[in-house]
Each structure stands twice: as C-alpha cells, then as structure tokens.
C-alpha cells in the first residue's frame, strides 16, 4: 500500500510540473498543451470510439506478428543450438539481423508489400523473430550438461529431453528473449504505422501521425500516453507474473 501511494504521489507531482510548465507560458500552448486538454482529447477519442478502434487494430497487428515471430523463432533457436550447420547459417543471420533497428525494415516492407497489412506484419515479425531466436539459442547453450546426463540415466530420450529438460531449463533466457521481442515488435509496429498509411485500419501510430499533420499536440501526447500505458499493462499482466514465477522457482531474486 505504501509503495502504491508513493508511486501515485510521484505521478501526481509529474502532472503538477506539467501543469505548471503550461501555466508559465514559456512555450506556445500549441506545443505544450495542458494535461486537461490532453485528457479532454482522450475522453473524446474514447467516447467516439476512435481510441478503442485504433487500439484494437494496433493490438491485432502486434499480437499476430508477435505470435508468428515466437512460433517461428523458438524452433529456429532450438535448431541453431542443436546443430552446427544451423548455428553457422541461421544463427549468424539472426545475430546480424537482431542488431538491425527494426525501423530499417519499413522501406523494404513498403516496396515489397506496398501499403498493406502484410507490410505491417512483416515489420513486426522481423522485429520479434531474431531476438527470440538468439535468446532461445543462448538459453539452450546455458543449460548445464548435468541436467541432460541426469535425465538420460532416468530413461529420458531425445525428444523427451528436449521438451521436458532442455526447454524448461532454458526458460529464463527464453522469457527474457520473449520480452525483448515484444519490445522490438512494439517499436517496429509504431514505426511502421507512422510511415505506412494504409486504409485497411487506423492504428495508434497512424493517430500519432495525423496528430502531427494537424498540429494537434494534445492528440500526439494523448496517444503517446496510451502507447506507454499499453506497454506497461503488457508487462504487468503478461511478463511480470511469468518472471516472478521464474524468480521464485529458480531463486534468482528476493522479490
């Protein structure tokens, strides 16, 4: 409770500083809207459904792309960890592409797929895939060989070992890879939505983009806040419980 109150206080102070800056009129109100203006925009956007629609469009793209990235990345990571050939080829490729900022995929996606959903998905998948591959491979490589040996003596064999021993043993690495993949996917999708103005759906990134076009700063800031909140919620609802479980089981943290 005390922690919650402290956090609440922190954000209240942040709002107050913002309000004070607005009132000091150092910058034009066009550039620095008041918290109230932003709140009014958000309320309006929430009431007329723009916000919900954009959020759904964005989340749908994100989830589909993310899941494709995971489903493809996990087995690729296992393969690169298991066989040298895969490590030298796909592993090296993954390592290289993981370092590529995912926004760099946008021009290529635009030329290949045009202004379509496919372009969006492609960018999100490219953002997710490689970090999942790398994390899975690293995780598998860090599994102490003794686990495998112990499992062998208990009668565990190839596939059973992979699914019941190596995969769970690599889980802490895989989860941090999933988290990183999620962050990359989120970033790349926003970049894609800002650059790709397609008609099949208006995402949060596009709202951001039009906020700029219309010089509607309260919209820009409002949408940015929504994006931040979604990121926080994803962490708190999805990743945080998994990480807590891992920490408790592995004993890696006191929290």
């Amino acid at each position: 409770m005390k922690r919650f109150l402290l956090a609440a206080l922190f954000f209240a102070v942040l709002l107050l500083i913002w309000e004070a800056l607005f009132r000091a009129k150092i910058w034009s109100p066009v550039l620095v809207p008041s918290p109230r203006q932003v709140a009014v925009y958000l309320e309006g956007a929430a009431m007329d459904g723009t916000l919900a629609k954009a959020t759904i469009v964005t989340m749908r793209r994100l989830l589909i792309g993310y899941i494709i990235g995971l489903v493809a990345g996990l087995p690729l990571g296992l393969l690169t960890a298991r066989w040298k050939v895969w490590q030298d080829t796909v592993g090296t490729l993954a390592l290289g592409l993981q370092g590529l900022p995912s926004v760099c995929w946008v021009p290529l996606a635009l030329l290949w797929f045009g202004q379509t959903e496919a372009a969006m998905l492609f960018v999100v998948v490219m953002g997710t895939l490689w970090s999942v591959v790398i994390a899975t491979e690293t995780g598998v490589r860090h599994v102490p060989p003794i686990y495998r040996r112990a499992a062998l003596t208990m009668g565990s064999k190839s596939l059973h070992i992979w699914f019941k021993v190596i995969l769970p043993a690599a889980l802490p690495f895989i989860v941090s890879g999933m988290k990183q993949g999620w962050a990359f996917a989120w970033r790349s999708l926003m970049a894609a939505e800002i650059f790709v103005t397609i008609l099949t759906g208006f995402g949060l990134g596009q709202l951001l983009h039009y906020g700029r076009e219309l010089s509607a700063m309260e919209q820009v800031i409002g949408i940015m806040i929504v994006i931040v909140v979604i990121g926080l919620l994803a962490d708190k609802i999805f990743f945080s419980p998994i990480e807590k479980f891992l920490h408790r089981r592995w004993g890696t943290s006191q929290a």
């Binding site: 102490p144 003794i146 686990y147 040996r149 112990a150 499992a151 062998l152 003596t153 208990m154 009668g155 565990s156 059973h160 019941k164 021993v165 769970p168 043993a169 889980l171 408790r248 089981r249 592995w250 004993g251």
Partner: protein
C-alpha cells in the same frame, strides 16, 4: 484365464523390493585425448560386483574412477572391454542403473515433488496416482515429506542430495551408481547421510557402486573398497570391510581399516611420469 489382468502395476507392486543386479566389468579401457596428449583413463579394468553388494571405488583425482562409473552408467562408451549387468551388455544409459552425481543435478523448474516424480513419469505402466504414491513413499524414506512443495533453491546442500537420492530410488532401479554424492557437504550432514544411506540400502536391497576420494567414507559404506591408481587408471588392491552395520564413521575399528586403505592408496598413487618429457 487372466481376462481381468491389469495392464499397469500398482504402487504397492512398484514399491516391492526387487532383486538387485550383479555387475561384471571385463577388461575395460578408455583413452582421453587432451591438449597434452593421450591419457589412459582406464587400463584393462575388470571388476565383479555381486547382488546387493556395496562397492566403493577410491583413488586420487584423475584415476579414472568416475570414468568407470560413467561407463557403467552407459553415459560413456569404453574403447574396449565390456560391462554386463545381469549378463546383459550395457549399451546406453537407462533407469536400471540410476546415477547420483556430486552436484544434486535437480531440476530447478520443478519443485521437490516434481523432481522425484520426473523418473516415474518415464515409467509407462503406472497410473498417475501410483506415481504420486511412490514419490511420496521415497520422500518419506529420505525424511523430506514436509518439503515436497519446496523449490530446489530453498533446500540446503544435504537436503538437495536427499531429494536426489529419492529421485534415484523412485523408479526402483536394481543398481545405484553414486559419484562422490556427499563430497560437497559439511561433515555433520555427511555423517547423517552415511547412516541414512546404509539403512536405505538395506531396506531397498540395492547393488551400489560408490565413487569417492574419501577413504573413511569408503570404509564406512563399502562391503568392499577398490583402490585405483591414476595414469593409467588401474585397480591396484581391494579390501573387504567386514564390520557390522550400521557403521559409525568415527569408530576405532573403522579407523583401522581406513588407515590400511590409505596406506595402499598412497603407495599406488605416485603417478607414473610420462616418459616423453
């Protein structure tokens, strides 16, 4: 006749004390290639272990005793020679010969109960209820019933090895292979485990091959103590320890045996220096 015969064995059947294995090792050699040249880890080692016998292998580090254990386990292949368990050649690892390692090698993603359950899940003819009953029985046997829901990292070193022992016993193997399982524990915990292990060995009637570099430990646990010498790894001498059980590691009689074995160990442990240099 037996139309109503059950297709799975029950927990009580599973918990029955079964006949222990005998082991025949014939002329086993193993070479390791290392940066400084070939090392003959085992040189034509032969050894017989009788049913329900507790045999300890002692020797300085690098004498090949752990390698021999891994070969018996089926985790490594010998360059030559054979290992027969009950007359059948050992071709790979399997639950007839369960291994306890120096590290507990417990799985941190499972709790204590899940770890003991792990080998039981690999036994196809049991129902889940039977598996649970069997796991509970062995956790009770090693005195850890109260900790079945605990996470591995919450246990002390001694408790971890107890869980490891329960896990090794759970699938009811005919033979246990133990590779310095108590080496990393403090003296007090170890003494307790010596007592418990002797009791469990009697109760469950297992054949045990136990590797250690601790002579007292070997004299305390073994019916027979086999002395190895390093480079090349060879069996040099063996001692029968005919003290009554359960044995106390601090007893004077035991110390007499230990002194004798230590003497032998020392006389054989001068490594034969490589002639190349």
């Amino acid at each position: 006749m037996h139309l109503a015969r059950r297709h799975h064995s029950s927990a009580t059947e599973e918990l029955q004390v079964i006949a222990p294995s005998k082991l025949a090792i014939e002329g086993v050699s193993k070479n390791f290639r290392s940066a400084s040249g070939d090392v003959l880890a085992l040189d034509r080692v032969s050894l017989n272990v009788a049913e329900a016998e507790f045999v300890c292998l002692v020797g300085a580090s690098g004498c090949g005793k752990s390698t021999l254990l891994n070969i018996i386990a089926g985790l490594e292949k010998p360059d030559s020679g054979t290992v027969l368990q009950d007359g059948k050649p050992v071709t790979g690892p399997g639950r007839e010969r369960l291994v306890m390692f120096q590290e507990p090698a417990l799985f941190p993603w499972l709790n204590v109960f899940g770890n003991v359950l792990f080998p039981l899940k690999l036994k196809p003819n049991l129902t889940n209820k039977d598996r649970h009953d069997v796991a509970k029985y062995y956790l009770e046997l090693v005195g850890l019933s109260r900790f079945e829901r605990a996470n591995i990292h919450e246990l002390s070193g001694g408790m971890k090895q107890r869980v490891s022992l329960a896990r090794a016993l759970a699938p009811n193997p005919r033979m246990l292979l133990m590779d310095e399982p108590f080496a990393a524990l403090d003296a007090l915990t170890r003494e307790q485990l010596y007592g418990d292990l002797q009791q469990i060995w009697k109760a469950r009637n297992k054949t045990i091959v136990f590797v250690t570099h601790n002579v007292r430990e070997a004299a305390c646990l073994g019916d027979r103590v086999i002395v190895f010498s390093p480079r090349p790894g060879r069996i040099r001498e063996e001692f029968a320890v005919d003290l009554s059980r359960p044995r106390d590691i601090n007893s004077v009689d035991l110390a007499v045996h230990a002194t004798e074995i230590t003497k032998a160990l020392k006389s054989h442990s001068q490594p034969e220096l490589a002639t190349a240099e």
